[in-house]
């Protein structure tokens, strides 16, 4: 279970998160919606530990582990996974090689045995089916020359391999056509698990038609302004964020 308590964070001296509290029990999918500049992406980077995102107060724990005390890769080993809005390409490094290094990096940190090449290949092929990722794409350089849809499917493939406790999906729907959106969503739904918390960050209600959340939170000016069930997303789609905006904003 992810527990965020009164989280304050700033970027380059500017406060972005201003007392955000949120709990995502294991097995639940929560969506965060909100206007541009509300701090949605900042939240995903603060949770994963990106440099330049300074936590000034508050706490974040995942199954009781203090995430804020850990560097990026140790958070990954503790079970944090971020599906990037803009996945980064690494020319010359094959997707399979990259993911084997990543998976073994995580396993090593967890004190588990590293996977040998044949076992990894079996696992990778199985997981690739989940998001209809072709074997040819697995051999290509990480995200290099991938289409928008391929990149996002690749993110979910990686998530399936790493089996995180907390999956953060940062605007996974951006840049996807309707077919790709279906495939990606099906992949995500296939990864719902009683031991996994998911945080879905999105601008649009559309994604939540496919990935139906247990809870929806509205993030405005660095705080949760309102929380509700899946129907809240539909209401936002209709009415916009106007009523949530603080007078100053």
């Amino acid at each position: 279970m992810l527990k965020i308590t009164d989280l304050h964070a700033e970027v380059g001296g500017t406060p972005i998160l201003k007392g955000l509290s949120l709990e995502i029990p294991s097995g639940e999918v929560h969506a965060i919606m909100g206007p541009n500049g509300a701090g949605k992406s900042t939240l995903s980077y603060v949770l994963s530990g990106r440099e330049g995102y300074e936590v000034t107060s508050g706490s974040v724990t995942l199954d009781g582990v203090d995430l804020l005390a850990l560097p990026v890769e140790e958070r990954a080993a503790a079970g944090v996974f971020l599906a990037f809005q803009y996945p980064v390409s690494i020319p010359g490094v094959s997707n399979l090689y990259f993911m084997r290094a990543a998976l073994n990096g995580v396993r090593k940190q967890r004190g588990e045995e590293e996977l040998d090449a044949p076992s990894f290949m079996r696992l990778a092929r199985e997981k690739a089916k989940l998001v209809e990722l072709s074997p040819e794409l697995l051999k290509r350089s990480v995200n290099d020359g991938f289409s928008g849809g391929e990149k996002k499917r690749n993110e979910i493939f990686q998530m399936a391999l790493l089996e995180p406790k907390l999956a953060i999906l940062d605007e996974t729907d951006s840049g996807l056509d309707i077919d790709a959106l279906r495939v990606v969503s099906a992949g995500v739904n296939g990864l719902r698990d009683p031991k996994r918390s998911m945080l879905v960050i999105t601008h649009y209600q559309r994604l939540l038609d496919y990935i139906v959340p247990d809870r929806v939170h509205v993030l405005v000016d660095g705080k949760i302004a309102e929380s509700g069930g899946a129907e809240l997303a539909k209401q936002l789609e209709r009415d916009g964020y106007a009523e949530h905006r603080s007078p100053a904003a």
Binding site: S48, R50, E51, P71, V72, E73, A76, A77, V80, F81, L82, F84, P87, V88, I90, P91, G92, V93, F98, M99, A101, A102, L103, G105, V106, Q109, S141, Q158, L162
Partner: protein, 482 residues
């Protein structure tokens, strides 16, 4: 011979007052370079008169030349008269007697590079059984090659056993007057390798300097000559990934390759000479002249280099494409970290018809490293239908390093086709964050990204070399970030 002995005596006497490094063993000549030095070296090596004269002509040329300053490297002026130009091969008892006596830092690096235990001792210069192993390996290996008629021996041995071949080819690719450092090497070269592959023979194994690690102390002025006769094929590996230390700061080697009709030479180098400390103190200066001559039609010479060592690298492995339809290739990864400076590239000189060349250069700079790609593509009037493809990519790590690209092109035949691609990129914070978010440590992430960048070149290396080179790039970049 009597005359030679007399000369040795003269030099010894003269130098004695000036100070031998060790006056008991008399195995290091006093610093300084003049005709007597050259005569001394030649006599010590019991060389024939023609070779002595050849060395002397090189010395005279060198004395009239001035050190080149066009390279984008900076170093204090070298005092050539303060260098000692001859040292007898080290005796085993001078080295460390066991691995326990070797610098633990060096051992740690061997460990990281995954160098097999029995090789570590040899590389560290330990006088143990391992050396005997290597001698026996060496001997059986040479026997196998001899069956095929392949000659692979030290340069000094070749001068004695195959003088006609040495005399025929020495200096034909890199003339004594070619450049300042080439002239210096020609005057005082110590030792190196000699390879001859007879007509139609495909060398059954990779020829590696590893096999002659203890065969000779090749010293700072190495000289290598490889000849591939008609239709033959050879792959030669130079250097090793393990860090090499040497008390001689200046290195000026020459490599000459000759490929006859339909012959192919693949020459791979992994250079990891001591780069100096983080402030660049004490590193090796590496001024190398490497050139291959595609003498015959349809011959091919391919250079692959991974350069991670030395404080200063000045090196342009080149191809003279004389035979019609001959092919030249240059694949290079050069890495400069801390205060290292590398000015490296290639020259492709197209003389024959339909000659083709490919240049792929990958420069990586980190820390305060300075990296220059310098390439020359020359298409002569005679080179009808010649083609060149050049790609040079630079990768920057951190904000204090430099990358420069200096491509020269000289085309005298209008039917030539040349392509040039160049990119400069930086290891981005976003790439590092992405890798770390997936569970890789920062160092593993850098190593992964750099190896991806260099992949096109690394895949040209023979398999066992490629694996070591990959690790080497990672190890060389330790501490480059953060």
């Amino acid at each position: 011979m009597a005359e030679a002995t007399q000369e040795i005596d003269q030099v010894l006497k003269k130098s004695y007052g000036a100070g031998f490094v060790t006056d008991i063993e008399q195995d290091i000549i006093a610093p300084g370079l003049d005709e007597n030095t050259v005569r001394f070296i030649s006599a010590k090596k019991e060389e024939p008169e023609w070779l002595l004269q050849w060395r002397l002509s090189a010395l005279r040329a060198w004395q009239r030349m001035t050190e080149p300053t066009w390279a984008n490297v900076h170093y204090p002026k070298i005092d050539y008269q303060s260098i000692s130009y001859f040292a007898a091969p080290k005796r085993p008892e001078d080295g460390p007697q066991s691995l326990d006596e070797v610098d633990p830092k060096l051992l740690e690096t061997y460990e990281k590079l995954g160098i097999p235990l029995h090789e570590r001792a040899i590389l560290a210069g330990v006088a143990v059984d391992a050396v005997f192993d290597s001698v026996s390996v060496h001997t059986s290996f040479r026997g196998k090659l001899a069956e095929e008629g392949i000659i692979f021996m030290s340069f000094s041995e070749a001068v004695k056993e195959h003088p006609e071949l040495v005399r025929k080819y020495l200096g034909t690719v890199v003339p004594v007057r070619d450049n300042y450092f080439a002239a210096l090497n020609s005057a005082v070269f110590s030792d190196g390798s000699f390879v001859y592959i007879p007509e139609g023979v495909r060398c059954p194994m990779e020829l590696s300097t590893y096999f002659r690690i203890n065969a000779a102390n090749t010293g700072q002025f190495e000289r290598t000559l490889i000849i591939a006769d008609k239709g033959s094929h050879v792959s030669y590996l130079e250097g090793c990934t393990a860090p090499q230390r040497d008390e001689n700061q200046l290195h000026a080697a020459i490599v000459e390759l000759v490929a006859h009709e339909d012959a192919e030479i693949k020459y791979s180098t992994v250079q990891n000479w001591y780069p100096g400390d983080e402030d660049g103190k004490g590193g090796i200066y590496n001024f190398v002249t490497k050139r291959g001559l595609c003498e015959g039609a349809r011959s091919k010479i391919s250079w692959t280099q991974v350069e991670t060592g030395s404080a200063i690298t000045w090196k342009y492995p080149s191809c003279v494409l004389k035979g019609d339809d001959s092919v030249g290739e240059f694949y290079s990864v050069a890495l400069s970290n801390h205060r290292q400076q590398a000015d490296t590239g290639t020259k492709m000189i197209h003389l024959g018809k339909r000659t083709r060349s490919t240049i792929v250069s990958k420069g990586i700079s980190a820390g305060h490293g300075r990296q220059t790609y310098r390439g020359g593509v020359t298409i002569a009037r005679s080179a009808e239908g010649a083609r060149n493809y050049t790609q040079c990519d630079s990768l920057l790590i951190g904000g204090n390093c430099q990358a420069h690209t200096v491509p020269y092109v000289d085309v005298k035949n209008p039917t030539a086709k040349l392509e040039h691609e160049a990119t400069t990129s930086r290891i981005g914070e976003d790439q590092l964050f992405y890798c770390r978010q997936r569970g890789l440590s920062e160092e593993d992430a850098v190593s992964l990204i750099v190896n991806g960048f260099a992949k096109e070149v690394l895949k040209e290396l023979p398999m066992e070399f490629a694996v070591e080179a990959q690790k080497l790039l990672g190890v060389s970049l330790e501490g480059a970030i953060g």
